[in-house]
């Protein structure tokens, strides 16, 4: 309940978003994130609500830290995002990190259309 989990926003519908956490997709509310969130952004999810948008230049490092911390405690991470029956897939960096780095030139840039999100 204390640990936020970072994930990538795949699709936004009003104040709800589909977000991906190491290949597990969940709905996340955006009501209280306090910043404009776009598809491709990374958010810190806490009990179903985004509580912070990760600054672009901190996404990669943050994801790595969390992977490192959560390794071996995957069940707990899944509990945190309410997806006990799923499997987190660590190892490969989330493709989106690379994608995002490649298409982001600065704050506020619109991102290119997302790849690989059609399985939502």
């Amino acid at each position: 309940m204390c640990l936020g989990i970072p994930g990538e926003v795949l699709e936004i519908d009003g104040h709800e978003a589909r977000a991906e956490f190491w290949n597990v997709e969940k709905t996340v509310r955006l009501d209280i994130v306090g910043e404009t969130v776009q598809e491709g952004d990374y958010i810190l999810n806490h009990a179903g609500f985004a509580i912070r948008k990760l600054p672009d230049d901190e996404v990669q490092e943050t994801m790595e830290i969390y992977e490192s911390f959560l390794e071996g405690d995957e069940d707990e991470a899944l509990e945190e995002i309410g997806a006990e029956d799923e499997q987190l897939e660590f190892g490969e960096r989330p493709a989106a990190v690379e994608r995002q780095r490649a298409v982001t030139d600065g704050p506020g840039d619109r991102r290119t259309p997302q790849e690989g999100t059609d399985g939502d």
Binding site: M1, V33, A47, I51, I65, S68, F69, R93
Partner: protein, 368 residues
Amino acid sequence: MATDETLQFRDPDAAEEIVDRLDGLMAEIGEPVSVMHVCGSHEQAIAKFGLRTMLPDGLSIRMGPGCPVCVTNMPEVDEAVALANGGVTVATYGDMYQVPGTSGSLADASARGAPVEVVYSASEAVELAEENPDEEVVFFATGFETTAAPTAAVLTDDPPENFSVLSAHKYVPPAMEVVAELPDTDIDGFLAAGHAATITGYGLFEEFVSEYETPVVVGGFEPLDVLLGLERLLEYTSEDAVGLENAYPRCVTREGNSTALETMWEVFEPVAGEWRGIAEIPGANLALREAYAEYNARERFDIAPDSGEADPLSEQCLCGDIMAGTADPDDCELFGEECTPEDPVGACMVSSEGPCKIWLEYGGQPDI
């Protein structure tokens, strides 16, 4: 590209370097130093990676009231159990499900046929109410600022009439003040919780630092983050100085999340309340404001908790002392014997952030 950078957060050489610096600082200080953290995730990192075994003699890390489930007061659990026993659907986080009240937990009530649902978010509790319009659904809402803001968000979003909230939300900063003043808790510095500070902002601790003349470092939860946080706190102690630092800038800003805070304070007001085993703390419980009384389960229902006999073992439970930083889990005679995650006596053995459960899982002070 990832591997090298990933490793840097656990790099044993870097850890040893910091530990060497801790050694040097402790030699300089020349007396025992106690640092308190107030976050279950910190305890997890410390126990999981065996950090206590790396620390110089005389430096101890105390656990503070960083587990919201653990400080939820038994009468609050009793209220939820009474509602469920009365046929009202009670939705709550998985962490609360097994926490014992005076006469059993919500899990016990559920086993007897009472309607109890585990949800992972406040939104799910609202969905449950929407899907069951003929039933009353009460969200037994627990946790610190990081879950209080989401509870507030669903209440400001026009929830269905059959939805209400039994708030056991807690607000951390006043509890830190109380713990700082406890006579048995001689704390030289606080490692403050990163995620709660994501909401509140670290600027909140400025007043605390000057009033209690105790340094505060907001820290992350990777092993090196924790060690670096300790190093910063020892630097202050060695210089006999106080200060506030944010060692977790990737998630915490000075201002925090103002939208979340505004939503939280629109719905909740701080009131005095008992923190299990610690004290009655002014301003540390979050109650629904009058404007949201229609969604307040305590207003909607006449809640009459069962005044049955408590489990006699609960009198031996040291959960409160552990939360106040005056005892360790293995000081408790019940630890791992009569009290286990499968059959817990106290809340500290239930929650994934509970120190007893963490120590049992990782062996308390394991070798590296």
